[in-house]
Subunit: 384 residues, 2 copies
């Protein structure tokens, strides 16, 4: 399937960096446009933790992610459907992407039984038993109504033998066919569906999976099964070997990868979309990104530091509050700490993606990356 065959999505590469595989793109979706490369804040349960949609607009979020597995269990697909879809339910007006739940079914639930038909699992909330199949995962995502849906895949665990990884990627490919069939049967015009490449850390299997997934044909492609416990170098190698062989004219999404340095690595190798809970989760634990490296706001030294968190940052938090106030809120257990910290880290990621895009447009991405990383890793002893 060619990208242009999906009415719900169009993707244009607007600039390519001459020094690497980085590209600046524009993704048009039913709920709006997204400039890539982009970081997608994660709103697992129909809410990006601790922030409102106005906060998300303020930090420049163009598309956010939610999770079909979580929404299927709570509040339930019927509630979302009766609300008029997830956009209406959470009152989010920009593009949305839903993960299919493949990753969650394999990582969050107890007593999983996998057959070629699908997965039997127990809810992580109440232990109730459920069956998820590629068709059902697609139906759930159609009811949710996000601009982009993901195929229901088998997320390979780490470590994993080459034999197990090969078997798993085959199953993922078979399921991808069934997801695509159901999506086409049910129209396929209002939402895009992305295929997912698996294959663990094995380069030959990643290539095989990429080929199989392209042969089925989707309007966009994701690299799944990373950030599941493998070494950082292994993850970077998967990106280097997989991203460049995905179709040039379709968006590429690296699932679950989010530290600033890894996002830049992905961009360098031609990835367009990223998501990760790490920026928001770290924020809630007081670990904050700055242009000079990570700051742990819990540290004693910030109690009476009246400067801004990051003097180089133009986010609403850095423009308004001091490190001392952020330190106080964290130490006092105030809910506002979660929110201000989250706002800052999201702004940082979105700003980084936007600045990377500008660097690509002027053909200086690698220079930009080098300068950023030099400052970001400048602290001899980063905050714990």
């Amino acid at each position: 399937m060619k990208t242009e065959m999906c009415k719900a999505l169009s993707f244009t590469v607007e600039a390519r960096d001459p020094g690497c595989l980085a590209r600046a793109g524009r993704l048009c979706l039913p709920h709006g446009e997204v400039e890539t490369p982009i970081f997608m804040p994660v709103g697992t349960q129909a809410s990006v933790k601790a922030v409102t949609r106005e906060d998300l607009y303020a930090v420049g979020a163009q598309i956010i992610l939610s999770n079909a597995y979580h929404l299927y269990l709570r509040p339930g697909t019927d509630v979302i459907e009766r609300a008029g879809g997830l956009h209406e339910f959470m009152r989010w007006e920009r593009p949305l992407l839903t993960d299919s739940g493949g990753f969650q079914v394999f990582s969050l639930t107890g007593l999983t039984k996998v057959t070629s038909d699908g997965v039997t699992f127990q809810s992580h909330i109440d232990g109730s038993r459920h069956v998820m199949t590629p068709e059902k995962a697609t139906d759930v995502q159609i009811a949710i109504g996000a601009d982009i849906m993901m195929c229901f895949d088998e997320c390979t665990k780490y470590p994993c033998t080459p034999e197990a990884a090969a078997k798993s990627l085959l199953r993922t490919a078979q399921w991808a066919v069934r997801c695509k069939d159901r999506w086409m049967e049910r129209g396929g015009d209002r939402q895009a569906l992305f295929g997912i490449v698996q294959g663990s850390v094995y380069k030959d299997l990643r290539i095989e999976s990429a080929e199989r997934t392209q042969a089925i044909g989707f309007p966009g492609y994701a690299i799944g099964g990373v950030s599941v416990g493998e070494a950082k170098d292994e993850m970077l190698e998967v990106v280097e070997s997989t991203a460049p062989i995905l179709p040039e004219d379709a968006p590429r999404y690296l699932m679950g990868v989010g530290p600033p340095e890894d996002m830049l690595h992905g961009i360098e190798y031609g990835v367009d979309m990223f998501d990760c809970v790490m920026p928001t989760r770290n924020a809630r634990n007081g670990s904050l990104f700055t242009s000079q490296g990570r700051v742990n706001i819990k540290n004693r030294q910030y109690v009476d530091d009246f400067g801004p968190l990051d003097p180089a940052c133009a986010c609403p938090v850095c423009l308004t509050y001091s490190r001392a106030y952020l330190s106080h809120l964290y130490r006092a257990g105030e809910i506002l700490a979660l929110r201000l910290n989250t706002l800052h880290n999201l702004f940082f990621m979105l700003q980084l993606a936007a600045t990377a895009r500008e660097a690509i447009v002027v053909g200086r991405f690698r220079e930009f990356k080098r300068v950023f990383l030099e400052a970001y890793s400048a602290r001899a002893v980063p905050d714990a």
Copy 2:
């Protein structure tokens, strides 16, 4: 002391309701004007829990309260002072009031020792030992720099014998003299100081305390020692007997009273200012005020109720989200639930105070109160 003798505060009664003691006033303070009657959101630890200053501006907060006891312990008076005062520290631009810590020293701490000089207590945070005196409480509040400070008082416990209450109100009066002396010594021009009337549930002691406090003379007067465990009727009687005998030309503040119906009762008897953690604490527990009574958003019936929380409410939450979404956020343990619920309850209280003011101006306060309470208590079985 006449009100006009305090440069930090002026108070004008702009309208009196012909049918009761309710009045509409204007309080001018160093950081702005406050239209009374007013509800003051509580920001105990330099943050109104779960909301930002922008949220507070959006719901119409004109003045907020913070607590000298908590700030003295954490982050410490020196940090607030070096930040340039509490306004600068928390970046709040409108008027602030600080409670002296009298209530907290008697209710939150262990091993309290009270002498005529002051109180020895242990921090509720780390058990460290501290001494608080009227002079020190005043110094702490001067360092914090709120528009309005409160005298350090002995908050009488409930139940309390008339003898103990009489002794306690005498000590409060003696301490009030010392607070005032320290305040005058240190300038007294940039902040106002309010006296506090004690006397437990005994009418004659309340009258005695009110007379003693007025004899010392303050730019404003508070009714303290209520909402400490006494029956609702006893509290209402204290208000009825105490508020009317406080000076006509000074603002009157009923401390710690917040349910909508009790605020209206206080207004009817001439009270101008209210604070209470109840609207914000209830919000975090899912108990929400509406024009038709309280809604417990935890209840099963709201899971698929797609209407607004209160169709009669114009707050940002009711204009945007459904009961079903609020129910989902609460059930899913999302931080956003705390924030949206808090926003709504604060808007409700501030709107109620503003509407009460309009009713006073047109001379129909009692009619307004009757109609409000009729609707507010309409549910045959209010939500648990």
